[in-house]
């Protein structure tokens, strides 16, 4: 037990802070469960949204929203993860030329700090150019593109998913002891081999944390979905969208995610269906939780047999 008064005060503050955090999280989860669980049914999870989003009870399902969230997360991270890991390796293992390292560092901080709606707006300006209509759709014969598609939104999602991947990986790579690098060099291994076989494997848990944070950021984003995917919540995806020959068209089309579904069906949006909103929020939370646990589990590989 700490003896000094200042120590006791410090410990007290820590206890209070920790308790407040736990209570807050518990209340939010409980609230979501209580409110949302009632809505959740097989039909809700696998159905398509109905025009009845405006009326309680007949609002249909959230399957397209789940698929949409999955798609922007998968495509966004498919870009953000390799890029982010590369940047992290550059910032820790190379740092040459110095100006580039400094510039990258600042850029990452900026991206981390700027709200996603700013990037969404910027993306709109870029992707609406006619020659980029192959990742969305042309707008009549105006020579412009809609700039609203899974491709467009995923590209901007990659941007906001990048900083957490970089920062987490960077910290993890710095945590790999220099003795390990020296041991590899002393065995006649080059820098690249050392990074691939020693540094990155040693940093795996931290890199996984970065992916988890990035996934959370992308799955939770609304602004980019709103502007670059379209608020097409009532729009059911075309029949057979999952078939390979339809997939390209589907990915160039508008869509929705869980976040836009929540916005729409909540009393704040055009719907007045708090039930489905809570249900979707609960699903979103569970999905992110599962991704969290799975990634952290996978990254903590056991070395050999006991």
């Amino acid at each position: 037990m700490p003896v000094r008064l200042s120590d006791r005060i410090g410990v007290g503050i820590a206890y209070v802070a920790g308790t407040i955090l736990i209570v807050a999280v518990a209340v939010i989860m409980l609230w979501l469960i209580v409110q949302g669980l009632g809505t959740i049914s097989w039909d809700f999870l696998t159905g398509e949204p109905a025009p009845g989003t405006l009326e309680q009870g007949v609002s249909g399902g959230i399957l397209p929203a789940i698929v949409g969230t999955f798609l922007v997360v998968a495509f966004g991270m498919a870009v953000a993860f390799p890029l982010g890991l590369g940047v992290a390796i550059f910032l820790t293992e190379y740092r040459q030329p110095a100006w580039l390292a400094k510039g990258t560092d600042t850029a990452i901080d900026l991206i981390f700090g700027v709200p996603s709606i700013v990037f969404a707006l910027f993306g709109l300006a870029i992707f609406s150019q006619g020659w980029l209509s192959f990742i969305s759709n042309p707008v009549g014969d105006t020579g412009m593109a809609t700039a609203q598609s899974f491709f467009c939104s995923s590209l901007m999602m990659a941007l906001i998913g990048l900083p957490p991947v970089v920062r987490s990986s960077q910290a993890a790579i710095l945590g790999v002891p220099d003795q390990q690098r020296e041991a590899a060099y002393a065995l006649g291994k080059g820098r690249l081999t050392t990074i691939r076989r020693i540094v990155v494997p040693g940093a795996r848990p931290g890199i996984a944390t970065g992916i988890v944070l990035g996934v959370g950021r992308i799955a939770g984003d609304t602004a980019i979905v709103w502007i670059l995917l379209g608020g097409a919540v009532l729009q059911a995806p075309p029949d057979g969208w999952y078939l390979p020959w339809n997939l390209m068209d589907f990915l160039r089309s508008e869509g929705s995610t869980l976040t836009t579904y929540i916005f729409f069906s909540s009393p704040a949006g055009e719907g007045n269906s708090p039930g489905p909103a809570y249900g979707a929020a609960f699903v979103l939370m569970v999905v992110i939780l599962i991704v969290n646990i799975a990634l952290i589990r996978l990254s903590r590989r056991k070395i050999g047999k006991r």
């Binding site: 002891p177 390990q180 006649g188």
Partner: protein, 352 residues
């Protein structure tokens, strides 16, 4: 390992026995219980010093800022001063019979960190085969000297290095040196055992794997892995547990694993920086035994703070003080009858 290699190693070793000076370590080895080491019984008398041959190393271009200021190391065992040898700044050390038998030599080696010079023009001679012990007070630059040989020093961005390290007569600091090849031929064992967080098998295989263009399978690697683990004296303890995490081994086992890993790269020289300082006496004894065994087929340069250990295992010794090489030569000579007063004080202090 192919059996011819082993035969060759034995031949080389036998050859070296002919000119190597006798070492009084039979008693120690008997205490350590090693009946296999032939040096333990072969206490041949020292061969007569060969006539001083013209030194090819002396003809090498002096280092940019090294040679001029380099103090010639006092000839350790020269009974009568040789005028030719004294006239040359890079004199043939008296204890080496044939200059071609120098596997490593530092010539006017200067190392500074952020302009603060740590080594002031060191001339070190490592004869081929046997154990060379580097001793000296803490902070005198032993580690720095050792790490400059396999060019790890330059990993510190603040380091500046001048002078030469001759490995088989060629300067490793010359342009065009294949760093990775150099570090495979001159392996290193560190003070803290530092196995990779992988299985025991993978630790050893790592050294072999990336060298091959194709990724060899476990089955293909197994004979080599088993061979080096045997040579490192670890095989019997781990042969049933090759897939265990290497970090679950004891400190002494980890250090032997690190030695095995180094052996897997097939080095001609192994640099060891206080390899036993983190280990208990039993593990230390095992590693000393291993070092003596390995010295039969390759050269070992070892930094040690333990003079008793140095006496037990070293064939040659070099004494470093504040970045200057004060004395080097036959271990017995340096430890028991040093030419230099400061060596004498150091040696006395270490025993006292």
């Amino acid at each position: 390992m192919d059996p011819n290699d082993d035969q060759q190693r034995l031949d080389e070793r036998a050859k070296r026995q002919e000119w190597r000076h006798a070492l009084d370590r039979s008693a120690d080895l008997r205490a350590a219980g090693d009946p296999t080491d032939p040096t333990a019984v072969a206490a041949t008398p020292p061969p007569p010093p060969a006539a001083p041959a013209p030194d090819p190393l002396a003809a090498v271009e002096p280092a940019p800022f090294g040679a001029a200021a380099a103090v010639p190391a006092p000839p350790a065992s020269a009974a009568e001063p040789d005028p030719v040898a004294l006239a040359q700044p890079l004199a043939q050390p008296a204890h080496v019979a044939d200059p071609a038998d120098l596997v490593l030599a530092a010539r006017g080696l200067r190392v500074a960190f952020s302009g603060n010079e740590i080594l002031h023009g060191v001339d070190l001679d490592a004869p081929r085969g046997g154990v060379l012990a580097l001793v000296g007070p803490s902070g005198c630059g032993k580690t720095t000297l050792l790490r400059s040989i396999n060019r790890l020093t330059e990993l510190a961005p603040t380091a500046t290095i001048g002078g030469q390290i001759l490995f088989d007569g060629a300067d490793v600091y010359a342009g065009g040196t294949d760093l990775n090849l150099l570090r495979r031929r001159v392996g290193m064992v560190f003070q803290q055992p530092n196995p990779f967080p992988m299985t025991i098998f993978d630790n050893v295989a790592f050294a072999i794997r990336e060298q091959a263009k194709r990724r060899p399978s476990r089955g293909e690697l197994m004979p080599q892995v088993a061979d080096v683990l045997q040579r490192a004296g670890l095989w019997d303890e781990v042969k049933d547990n090759l897939d265990r995490n290497a970090l679950s081994l004891s400190g002494g086992q980890q250090q032997r694993l690190c030695i095995a890993r180094t052996l897997a790269a097939n080095p001609e020289v192994i640099l060891m920086d206080e390899p036993c300082s983190a280990l208990d006496p039993r593990s230390t004894a095992r590693i000393e035994e291993l070092i003596v065994q390995l010295a039969g087929s390759l050269t070992i340069v070892i930094v040690t703070h333990n003079l008793a250990q140095a006496k037990r295992i070293a064939d040659y010794a070099a004494y470093l003080l504040n970045g200057d090489l004060i004395e080097q030569g036959i271990a017995q000579q340096v430890f028991e009858d040093p030419a230099n007063q400061s060596t004498r004080d150091f040696v006395a202090g270490m025993f006292g």
